[in-house]
């Protein structure tokens, strides 16, 4: 046997271990685009808030005790849904494309595991945020969404590119900082969902895809 054969064997072992336990077709470009959508969404959200003159952080404490006006909540929910749907669709489409290129099937045991471990904390977080609004603590919603998203990323990182863990940790830290600056939730959102996604997606794109 020649040494090349040993090297080939080791490469094959690594490839199979990764392929069978991690979904590696997650597209970095979709992270960048998700970040851009989030920034566009944040811009419209701010515009809506200004129109309702609800953006003055100094007036925040008085506002907190009042429930948000209904149509404002609806407008914001609409913007948020658009961002989430656009980001998810982009992520799915680009990942399918990447999976096809590397000859990996998109819906298998590995990707199912990834989806389950990612969405479990997110669903819990979503329900928790509804409870926060119900109890008049809507000021903490921004921090809670960032926190649960960060936890979801850390949790999912075992089943995809391990680097997702570091973005998750960044989200967790950001969310804890944001708890001390209630009323600035939108800026923290833009920083996390916008900027962090763009940085992470860009890094992943250059690290794994540009070749």
């Amino acid at each position: 046997m020649n040494p090349n054969k040993y090297l080939e064997d080791i490469t094959e072992i690594k490839k199979m271990m990764n392929r069978s336990s991690r979904f590696i077709s997650l597209s970095g470009l979709s992270g960048v685009l998700a970040g851009i959508y989030a920034l566009i969404g944040a811009y419209f959200a701010k515009k809506t808030l200004v129109e309702h003159s609800a953006m003055d952080a100094a007036a925040y404490s008085q506002r907190n005790s009042m429930p948000l006006q209904d149509n404002l909540t609806l407008n914001l929910a609409f913007i948020a849904s658009c961002v989430v749907i656009a980001a998810m669709l982009t992520g799915i489409i680009l990942s399918i494309r990447k999976a096809k290129k590397s000859d990996e099937s998109i819906w298998n045991k590995v990707s199912r595991r990834l989806v389950f471990h990612f969405f479990m904390p997110l669903f819990a977080g979503g329900i928790f945020c509804i409870a926060l609004i119900q109890n008049g603590s809507s000021g903490l919603v921004a921090s809670a969404t960032l926190l649960f998203y960060g936890l979801a990323c850390v949790n999912a990182s075992k089943y995809t590119l391990g680097d997702v863990k570091y973005m998750g940790l960044a989200f967790i830290i950001l969310s804890l900082v944001s708890t001390q600056f209630l009323g600035y939730g939108l800026y923290f959102w833009a920083l996390g969902f916008g900027l962090f996604h763009i940085i992470y997606g860009g890094l992943m794109y250059f690290k794994y895809e540009r070749s």
Binding site: P3, Y6, E12, I13, K15, M16, M17, S20
Partner: protein, 96 residues
């Protein structure tokens, strides 16, 4: 003892190497999953799993999911130990 002694003949094939690699990082895998990942034909994969089963490196469980028969594979303790030794031997041979 030379390094070559730790190279295990039972793993000296791409498909068998693949089966063991997958079962090292997954608690278990079924026939379909192995087939997809390794890109092997039914007959080819079956003969390699049989060989590994004979060495008692993997465990085979047949069960039914609903009405469909399902064959599930997992690595035995012995299999994991032998495979680790095999990897170490490969790494040393390359490192030389």
């Amino acid at each position: 003892m030379s390094l070559i002694d730790n190279i295990n003949k039972a793993f000296d094939h791409r498909i068998r190497l693949g089966i063991m690699s997958i079962l090292m990082v997954n608690d278990h895998a079924d026939f379909k999953m192995l087939k997809e990942l390794l890109g092997a034909t039914d007959g080819n994969l079956a003969s390699h799993t049989k060989a590994l089963e004979k060495e008692e490196y993997i465990k085979v469980e047949k069960q039914f999911i609903g009405r469909k028969p399902n064959t599930r594979y997992s690595a035995t303790k012995l299999g994991k130990l032998q495979f680790k030794k095999h990897i170490e031997a490969l790494e040393k041979l390359i490192g030389k």
